[in-house]
Amino acid sequence: MSLRKILVLDGVTAVCRFRDDGVIMEAEGMLPPELMDRLAKFAQWYRRMVSSNTDLLSLFSQMRGWSPSQGWIVQGVGMTVCSVGNTVCLVDNAQGSLNQIMQALGEAAHE
């Protein structure tokens, strides 16, 4: 799925797909290149951290269903950052539907 299809969703202000070393593969939206780089790097690290946390939870809880992790959401007072796989986007809380966006991110990440 082209990232444009995610950008057109209500509330999404920027979206990018990143490689495992944090390098941007594609990016759409009104974010300066330097900030888009930061977003990608942050998302890449956060993905690793979340994956570590779910591994720990699996280990200690012996429950299935935590690993492998799918994504994460950080919800701020007005903006939210959410990611599935190697795609991350910025969302304006007042306009976006997280459910719809996370689903779209999931489809994009599996392509």
Binding site: N53, L56, F60, Q62
Partner: protein
């Protein structure tokens, strides 16, 4: 908590306290250090996160292995290239690695 006294620890560059949520509450900086209150505030937030994760790990480990001795956690330290941050409870110290005395620092933080 006497932050000035913490600054007497070997290699101390900064001493600080923070809330349970990680907000910097008070701090003392060694003159000439590149550390700023803003950086310390980032540091205190990461310290709270690290302590919480370490607590989860300690709890999980004791629960699954039956081995004791980890809880209650006494502190955490991140060892950087040139300096380390050592935290215990709601206070911490940044120390230069070449002079760092981890034991004395942990002990002093717990006694405060």
């Amino acid at each position: 908590m006497d932050l000035q006294k913490m600054m007497d620890l070997p290699g101390a560059m900064a001493a600080f306290t923070y809330t349970d949520k990680g907000d910097l509450q008070s701090h003392v900086l060694r003159e000439g250090t590149e550390l700023t209150p803003q950086v310390l505030d980032l540091l205190t937030h990461s310290c709270v996160a690290n302590l919480a994760i370490a607590c989860m790990e300690a709890r999980g480990w004791e629960m699954v292995t039956g081995q004791g001795g980890f809880q209650p956690l006494k502190g955490f330290s991140v060892v950087g290239l040139e300096w380390s941050v050592v935290v215990s409870g709601n206070c911490g110290v940044v120390v230069k690695n070449r002079d760092a005395d981890y034991e004395a620092t942990f002990t002093a933080l717990q006694a405060a």
